[in-house]
């Protein structure tokens, strides 16, 4: 806002640092909306995917009633937080998935020729507005779960919920960055990284209590997606945690997010240094 007013008085000021990202993103949004019927279909199908995943969870609980000590009503909160965070990360940085195509076609080289950090350019090169419906389903799940479960609200719990969602978003976004870094030096690395990105998403919407020990270590501490939704949910609902996941861990989501961000950025830097150049 401030900067815009600045522009009005001094019309020949060079554009600010953010102008480039803003220009690219707004053009992407306009382009997506300009194919109106396509966009509507995309919105609907992305929403359907979210609903099907929710139905999967519901079916599972319909059969067993209780899983990992949680009821369906309780797990709905796990699912909602996990899905909202993942959909938002997907909305903002999901197109990092396209890195193998960018490398193969040489599109990535073009990003090197612009005076901005590579990763920031890539992150802001696109935005998948169609994911909005899926994020909406995650949000709706949270709202419903919060209203049907008895919760002893306190300022701390409100803060915890907000913190959980922000940190979950960062954790998933970093997971995408990590996966993108791997693509630089691994041929067909997407198959490998998808196991962690999409496996991580799926894992985060499940109660971690039912996992085997190696999975607990992998998704609890290496790719800490169990901290995204499961552990905070236990804390919000005042439930006891299973062995290895004390509920004070719920306040450690910023650590998990920081760890994943550092891990992701390190892998990214490592990958960029091993870039072999794309195309002819």
């Amino acid at each position: 806002m401030n900067r815009d007013r600045h522009h009005a008085t001094q019309p020949d000021q060079a554009p600010g640092h953010l102008a480039a990202y803003r220009a690219v993103l707004s053009s992407r949004m306009r382009a997506q909306r300009s194919y109106r019927s396509n966009f509507v279909i995309d919105l609907i199908s992305s929403g359907l995917v979210g609903l099907i995943e929710l139905a999967e969870v519901w079916l599972l609980f319909h059969q067993v009633g209780l899983l990992g000590g949680l009821t369906f009503e309780q797990v709905l909160l796990v699912f909602g937080i996990g899905d909202l965070c993942f959909s938002l990360a997907d909305l903002f940085v999901g197109h990092l998935d396209n890195i193998p195509t960018y490398i193969r076609k040489g599109t990535l080289d073009v990003f090197y020729l612009r005076p901005q950090p590579l990763l920031l350019q890539l992150m802001t090169s696109d935005i998948s507005l169609r994911r909005l419906t899926r994020a909406a389903i995650g949000l709706a799940s949270i709202v419903i779960a919060l209203s049907i479960n008895p919760i002893h609200w306190s300022p701390a719990k409100v803060a915890l919920l907000a913190l959980t969602i922000v940190c979950g978003l960062v954790t998933y976004a970093s997971l995408y960055v990590w996966a993108a870094g791997v693509q630089f030096f691994m041929v067909n690395g997407a198959e490998f990284t998808n196991a962690f990105v999409y496996g991580g998403r799926y894992a985060s919407t499940q109660p971690a209590a039912v996992w085997s020990a190696p999975l607990k270590v992998l998704f609890g501490f290496v790719f800490p997606v169990a901290l995204v939704a499961y552990v905070p949910t236990l804390r919000l609902l005042d439930l006891p945690g299973p062995a290895g996941f004390p509920t004070w861990l719920a306040w450690c989501t910023p650590l998990a997010a920081l760890w994943m961000a550092a891990f992701g950025l390190t892998m990214w830097r490592f990958g960029v240094r091993h870039y072999q150049g794309g195309g002819g």
């Binding site: 020949d12 554009p15 220009a23 073009v110 090197y112 195309g279």
Partner: protein, 321 residues
């Protein structure tokens, strides 16, 4: 000012993994090998060689896309890896095979976004866009989405996009590939003009003899990642021993015109009514050859062919093996 491009012992290897049973074996392929070149401000350099000779790899190291295996490189006085972003403001690169434009946006909007990316003040952006639109004749398709442009139109728009921030060094990788004669001509004229008005340094790779002849004062020939020739175009032809060719149309069938000093009879057509004579322009002149021909037959028409660049490069390669 110091040189625009300076490399010392620049080398890049690619490791290749074997296939199938040899999956674990690795072999190193040296794409650029001990390359030391200097390009002064305002130079116009043709960088030529067969496919896979290491041209694109060199360019990628010059602009910071690829990390050299060894050796040093400075472009516009900067380290391309550590100062990639500063360098991006001073270099414009046109890759014939990849686009800097947004395929679903009108050309004008791509220019607006690029102006923001390079943080050009509005007045400068407007003036430069107008200049480029005028010189590259982009006016008629400025409002057309890039995906609907013909190849010639798109290439001109690409060049404008790469030069919007008025870089001091312009690198063009196969800029005229696939273009029709008229589009090529327009593009070359533009580059000549750009160089004359702004003192821009040009470095281009091409397979097109015309590009080199019209645009370059200096030619670097690479083979297997090494420079095998560095000099002007005539010098290249001399180095390769490739002479010019005099083609004479005679009034009637004539016996082969052999035995003219410093001249080789290259072939006859239509029973000798048209003959091709290669001559060494260092030792004789077209006039002397023509005089010798006229003594033996009546010349109706003539033309002189310049050496073909591909041919020259091939000869240099062969001479080295």
């Amino acid at each position: 000012m110091d040189s625009v491009v300076e490399t010392h012992g620049l080398t890049r290897e690619f490791t290749r993994r074997g296939k199938g049973a040899k999956l674990l074996t690795r072999s190193a392929l040296r794409a650029v090998d001990d390359l030391s070149i200097t390009i002064a401000p305002g130079d116009s350099v043709g960088y030529i060689g067969a496919n896979g000779a290491g041209k694109s790899t060199t360019i990628k190291m010059l602009v910071g896309i690829l990390v050299p295996t060894s050796g040093t490189v400075r472009t516009c006085g900067l380290d391309p890896l550590k100062q990639r972003r500063e360098l991006a403001a001073r270099v414009g690169v046109v890759f014939g095979q990849r686009s800097q434009l947004w395929w679903d946006l009108p050309v004008r909007e791509s220019f607006e976004i690029l102006s923001a990316i390079h943080r050009l003040p509005p007045s400068r952006s407007r003036a430069r866009t107008d200049e480029l639109v005028d010189r590259l004749e982009l006016g008629e398709f400025l409002a057309t989405p890039v995906r609907q442009l013909s190849l010639g139109q798109r290439m001109r728009a690409e060049v404008a996009a790469a030069l919007l921030h008025q870089p001091q060094l312009v690198i063009l990788d196969e800029p005229t590939i696939g273009l029709d004669v008229l589009s090529k001509q327009r593009l070359r004229e533009f580059l000549i003009q750009e160089r004359a008005t702004h003192g821009t340094t040009l470095l281009l790779t091409t397979h097109d003899m015309g590009d080199i002849e019209r645009l370059c004062d200096r030619v670097l020939v690479v083979d297997h990642g090494r420079v095998v020739h560095d000099g002007d175009l005539d010098g290249l032809a001399r180095a390769a021993g490739a002479g010019r060719t005099l083609v004479v149309d005679l009034t009637g069938p004539t016996a082969d015109l052999g035995g003219i000093p410093h001249t080789a009879h290259l072939g006859s057509e239509v029973d000798g009514a048209r003959q091709r004579l290669g001559f060494d322009s260092e030792r004789t002149t077209a006039a002397a050859v023509l005089a010798a021909v006229s003594e033996r037959a009546e010349v109706r028409d003539l033309s002189i062919e310049e050496p073909d660049i591909e041919d020259v490069v091939r000869r240099i390669y062969h001479a080295r093996r």
